[in-house]
Symmetry: C2
Subunit: 229 residues, 2 copies
Amino acid sequence: MKFSKIPTATITRLSRYSRALEELEAREIKVISSEKLAQYCEVNSAQIRKDLAYFGEFGVRGVGYVVKELLFEIKKILGLNKIWRLGIIGMGNLGCALVAHSNFPKQGYEFVAAFDIDPQKIGKIVPPGFPISPLSDLKDLARQKGIEIAVISTPAVKAQEVVNLVVEVPIRGILNFAPVQLHVPEGFVVHHIDFTVKLDKLAYRLVSLNVPSPANTVLQPHLISKHLL
Amino acid sequence: MKFSKIPTATITRLSRYSRALEELEAREIKVISSEKLAQYCEVNSAQIRKDLAYFGEFGVRGVGYVVKELLFEIKKILGLNKIWRLGIIGMGNLGCALVAHSNFPKQGYEFVAAFDIDPQKIGKIVPPGFPISPLSDLKDLARQKGIEIAVISTPAVKAQEVVNLVVEVPIRGILNFAPVQLHVPEGFVVHHIDFTVKLDKLAYRLVSLNVPSPANTVLQPHLISKHLL
């Protein structure tokens, strides 16, 4: 398996397949054809087969995929057959929202520590059931709790400073919510979450579907519905 | 221009090109070759040319793209040559973090109203400079302020109930942060933000690069660095 040759878009789609399969499993659907799964994920079935082909042979010709098995295999491919331990730095509104968000534990991500520099916040218990620690404890706690990914939810002006501490621990994976580009030494992986990228897609769709301005206009009933997983 | 034939992935990449071009513009770079732009956006240059070809002819052979012009054209394509007016519903930690987040105005999205049902929150002034309104005012305020996109940041259990009100207004575009699948009638566009999809990519990269567990292990220095826009 040559990881380096696998397109990023394939990995993003594997994530979507995995979430779709989880939903199918919850609905007690045992087997699904690649056509049905494709429809569910809003891709074409050739794409699913091509994406999976990077990793081996899955499914039975003429039958489809066994939901439970394919889910297991995709999670293994994505490295999600384990719990990932997260430490979060910056416990403002966004940090507090993130540690309380049910998607993280549901998808195999567990917050094990939270950090801030504000004495008013330090010691406060957050939803997973541990207190906010001073940032000066990052190195010790990261080792003690085995933090694998640092989630940065500080203000933009503080983010680089915090990342400089993170790479010293070292914590190799960084998920950045701060609206700023972060610089890390070679050997670290930073992904940046920018909420507005999804808004761009939404805006484009509204424009391309010719949705009129909402104020004092008659709405046209011919627009298509779209739900992305 | 046949909008319906344009792949979603192309739109996502246009968003990335647009952000890259903004950065180049800020650095006062006037012209960029498609190879350099491709490198900057972590795609190949054929992909950029293919994506842009859906919308017309851009750039000058042997020279490249004029940064300012291409940025203008992409923004026009994405419908970002205007300010989009957002209303946000659910002013818990996440809602408060979102209205205060500098990326929205920077990218052309303006929060014009915020709603909640908690009497303790109603009337409180949020960073853009307006008070949180009771949810019962949604219809009136949406018309008055011309809300085009509703941002849902309520708890999961409340989200569908809120969306039922949103579609009655009607507001056609919905950005959903609640960890739940929302059902809307035909003619509405819902996009869902799931923070953990980016974490899946990050986890995959850490696994595929063979990053060892951080606790009591020697770290290997051969991992590549990666920054996604």
